[in-house]
């Protein structure tokens, strides 16, 4: 099981903070996860796929083409606003 987390505006778009999913594919790319989560809803696909959204795999920022199949926790982070 892989835990998927959403933060900030993305959490509202998804309507949920986190859920768990089984992914069997290897490699598992960001685009594969988005396709599964969006289920054809273009808004969700666009929001999760935006260039400004960063992917965190097990607490590390990873590139778009990172293989996420071994990751236990994957987070989608919209632009941050600290300070």
């Amino acid at each position: 099981m892989t835990k998927i987390l959403f933060f900030g505006p993305l959490r509202e778009v998804m309507g949920v903070k986190e859920f768990e999913l089984d992914f069997e594919t290897t490699p598992l790319l960001r685009s594969d996860i988005i396709a599964r989560l969006a289920k054809g809803q273009s808004t969700i696909a666009e929001e999760l796929g935006a260039a400004s959204v960063r992917i965190i795999a097990d607490n590390s920022i990873v590139a778009d083409d990172f293989d996420l199949s071994a990751s236990k926790e994957i987070a989608f982070l919209p632009p941050m606003s600290g300070g």
Binding site: L5, F7, G8, P9, I56, A75, M80, S81, G82, G83
Partner: protein, 147 residues
């Protein structure tokens, strides 16, 4: 020293404790950020700060480490809150002690510029009956990029 916490903090007490623990350094610069009571001519009622527990702390520690790489003889304190805050409450505090004021001013500015863009927080401000996500500002992106 990095602290990410839900509880309010007393910026003045933090400044005094920080100063007293670095008596070899004559210059201390602080930044403190507070929830504003107005925005776009509307009264602000709350500011919600969402964070990514664990990851947020480790990202802020990276920012702090980078500051120490750039200014080798400074001491630093970063406190950042999450949760639901009211107008006037402290959100963030950065303190830098140094032998000379230039390093203290520069490092404090650096820390704030990086926290704005690279610290994993998301802010939602409630004004009147409506909640608004605070969008990162272009000026913040540029300030971060210029370091």
């Amino acid at each position: 020293m990095v602290r990410v916490q839900k509880e309010a903090f007393d910026a003045g007490a933090e400044l005094n404790a920080f100063t007293q623990s670095h008596t070899d350094m004559g210059a201390v610069v602080t930044f403190s950020g507070h929830v504003r009571d107005h925005n776009h001519a509307e009264t602000v009622s709350t500011l919600e700060l969402e964070h990514y527990a664990g990851f947020t702390e480790s990202e802020i520690r990276k920012i702090e480490t980078e500051a120490h790489n750039r200014w080798s003889h400074i001491r630093t304190l970063i406190i950042h809150r999450f949760g639901t805050l009211k107008p006037g409450e402290p959100i963030v505090m950065v303190a830098v002690a140094s032998a000379h004021r230039k390093a203290a001013f520069d490092a404090a500015t650096f820390l704030m510029d990086y926290l704005k863009t690279d610290a994993p927080f998301w802010k939602k401000e409630t004004r009147g009956d409506t909640a608004h996500w605070i969008e990162p500002r272009e000026t913040d992106r540029i300030a971060r990029q210029n370091w």
